[in-house]
C-alpha cells in the first residue's frame, strides 16, 4: 500500500471539502482492496465512520424507511422494522458477501462499490482506468454485461442497488454544503455517459441516506440472486421485483435486473407490459421470455439471458400465487 494520511471526518462539510487526492471511506472493505491493488493511490483517506448521525436506521409509518448510509449491512438486516416491513431488504442483505464483510461493509458503500471486472481489478490499463481498451470484448467475458455495455462492459456489483431500485428508493446526497434528493434510478449511469465511474457522484459529494418509500399495500417483493457459489459470490444475475396483482392480472409492478448491465437495469419494454398482464402461467412465461430483447451478449455470456428469463418466470409465478 502506498502511504496515505488517515483522518476521521469531523463533519460532512469538512469531509466534502476534500482535495482531489483524498478518498472517502465508509466500511472500507472495497476501498482497501482497491488501495492494496494500487487501483487507488490517495494522499489522504477520510473515514466517514466518525459521523455517527449517518448510522441511524429509522422507520416512520406512512413515510417509509430511512437508512443512514453508514449503517452496516448486518445492522440493516437485523433491524426489527426492516425485518417486519421490508423483508426483501433482509433477503438481499443475506445474499451479500460473507458474514464478516457484512459486519463491516455499509449500505452506502455497497451502492458505491467499484466493479469486479477482472481486467479492471487486474493489471490492465482498461477503459475504466483511463486506458483505451476494454479487454473483455475479446477476452474472458463470462461475467460481463449483456446489455447497456459499450465502450466498457462491466456489470454493476451491488445487490442492494437492485432491490432498492425495485422499491423506488431515493438517495440523499450532500452536495456543495446542501442536501439534495435523487431517485436511485438517476443515481447510476452507463459507460456511454462516463466510462470511468458508475454513478453521478462528483468529487466531494457524499451519499448520506437512503430513503425507501412504504411498500404499497398489496404488493409483494422478492430479490433473487443467482451465484455460482453459496457465499461471497457476486451475482451472476439477480432480480428485484415489486409486484401488485389482483387475482388474474397484474395491477402494477417493477422488475430490475442485476448482473446483466453496468448499472441496475430496468428493461423498459418489459416493465411497460406489466400493468394489465394476465397472471396465468403461460402469459407469465411469455412475459419473462420477452425480457432483455435488446441484449447483445458477448462471446461467453449468452447464458445470462436464458438465466434471467427462467429466473424471472419462476419469480413471477411465485409472486402471483396467493
Amino acid at each position: 500500500m502506498k502511504n496515505f494520511k488517515y483522518i476521521p471526518a469531523e463533519s460532512l462539510e469538512k469531509a466534502s471539502q476534500k482535495k482531489d487526492d483524498s478518498v472517502l471511506m465508509a466500511g472500507g472493505t472495497d476501498l482497501l482492496g482497491m488501495i492494496k491493488d494500487d487501483l487507488l493511490t490517495p494522499e489522504t483517506v477520510i473515514n466517514l465512520k466518525s459521523l455517527k448521525e449517518l448510522k441511524n436506521i429509522r422507520y416512520n409509518a406512512g413515510k417509509g424507511l430511512e437508512i443512514g448510509a453508514l449503517a452496516t449491512i448486518t445492522e440493516l438486516a437485523e433491524n426489527s422494522d426492516v425485518q417486519k416491513r421490508f423483508p426483501v431488504l433482509v433477503q438481499t442483505c443475506k445474499e451479500i458477501a460473507s458474514p464478516q464483510l457484512r459486519n463491516v461493509g455499509t449500505v452506502g458503500g455497497n451502492l458505491c462499490q467499484r466493479p469486479r471486472c477482472w481486467y479492471y481489478r487486474g493489471e490492465f490499463n482498461c477503459l475504466r482506468k483511463g486506458g483505451d481498451t476494454c479487454f473483455a470484448v475479446d477476452g474472458e467475458n463470462k461475467f460481463h454485461c449483456v446489455v447497456g455495455g459499450g465502450p466498457c462492459y462491466i456489470v454493476h456489483p451491488s445487490d442492494l442497488a437492485v432491490s432498492l431500485l425495485a422499491l423506488d428508493a431515493s438517495l440523499e446526497i450532500f452536495s456543495n454544503g446542501k442536501l439534495k434528493t435523487v431517485p436511485i434510478d438517476d443515481f447510476f449511469i452507463l459507460p456511454e455517459q462516463n466510462e470511468t465511474k458508475e454513478n453521478i457522484l462528483e468529487p466531494g459529494e457524499i451519499v448520506t441516506k437512503i430513503i425507501v418509500p412504504e411498500i404499497p399495500a398489496g404488493s409483494k417483493c422478492a430479490f433473487i440472486k443467482f451465484k455460482e457459489r453459496a457465499s461471497w459470490d457476486f451475482a451472476v444475475v439477480s432480480l428485484g421485483i415489486l409486484l401488485n396483482t389482483n387475482g388474474s392480472t397484474i395491477k402494477n409492478g417493477r422488475i430490475v435486473f442485476g448482473g446483466v448491465a453496468p448499472r441496475p437495469w430496468i428493461d423498459t419494454a418489459l416493465n411497460t407490459k406489466l400493468t394489465g398482464a394476465a397472471t396465468d402461467e403461460k402469459n407469465l412465461k411469455s412475459l419473462a421470455d420477452s425480457a432483455l430483447l435488446e441484449a447483445e451478449p458477448m462471446s461467453k455470456n449468452d447464458y445470462k439471458i436464458i438465466l434471467v428469463r427462467n429466473l424471472l418466470k419462476q419469480a413471477l409465478i411465485d409472486l402471483s400465487k396467493n
Binding site: K5, Y6, G28, G33, K36, T74, A97, Q100, W232
Partner: protein, 157 residues
C-alpha cells in the same frame, strides 16, 4: 503515524502505527499474535477473522486506525492449550481440526455467532461460517462440533 488505543484480549494497547497498517499486520507483526492467519488478504477466506466488539470481521480488510477504541478478541484471547474454550475443545473432540490453518478464524466466527445466537440450528451455523474457507474437513465435523457445544447448554461463550 497514528496514535491508536486498542483493547486486545482484555489488555490495553497504546500503539503508534502507520495509517496504512492493517489490523492483521498489527496483530501478527507488531504484537506477535500470530494465531490470526493470512490466507487471501482480500476478505475471502476468513483465516484472519477476529472479533471487534464481539462481531466477526476480516482483520485483513480493516485499518488498525479504524479499530480505534474498540475491543478486539483474537484466538490468543479465547483459550490456550491447557485451558481451552468450549468451542475449541469441541473442535478437538470432533476432529474438526485438520491442518489447523482455518481453525482460529473458524472458532472466532463460531464464538461471534454464539454471542448473538446461543442456540443456532445447523443452517444458521453453516451461514455463520460461510465466510471461513476450509479445504480439509468438508465442514461436517466443524458443524458437529458446534452442535455439540450448544447441546452442552449455555456456557461462558
Amino acid at each position: 503515524m497514528e496514535k491508536i488505543h486498542l483493547q486486545i484480549n482484555g489488555r490495553n494497547y497504546h500503539l503508534e502505527v502507520p495509517a496504512t497498517e492493517l489490523l492483521v499486520d498489527t496483530l501478527r507483526e507488531r504484537l506477535g499474535l500470530t494465531g490470526t492467519k493470512k490466507g487471501c488478504e482480500i476478505g475471502e477466506c476468513g483465516a484472519c477473522t477476529v472479533l471487534i466488539d464481539d462481531k466477526a470481521v476480516n482483520s485483513c480488510l480493516i485499518l488498525t486506525a479504524q479499530a480505534e477504541g474498540k475491543k478486539i478478541t483474537t484466538i490468543e484471547g479465547v483459550g490456550d492449550y491447557n485451558n481451552l474454550h468450549p468451542v475449541q475443545q469441541a473442535f478437538l473432540n470432533h476432529d474438526a481440526v485438520h491442518c489447523g490453518f482455518c481453525t482460529p478464524g473458524m472458532v472466532l466466527s463460531v464464538i461471534g455467532l454464539l454471542k448473538r445466537n446461543p442456540r443456532p440450528n445447523e443452517k444458521e451455523i453453516r451461514e455463520a461460517i460461510a465466510g471461513n474457507l476450509c479445504r480439509c474437513t468438508g465442514y461436517k465435523q466443524i458443524v458437529e462440533a458446534v452442535l455439540d457445544v450448544i447441546g452442552q447448554g449455555e456456557k461462558n461463550i
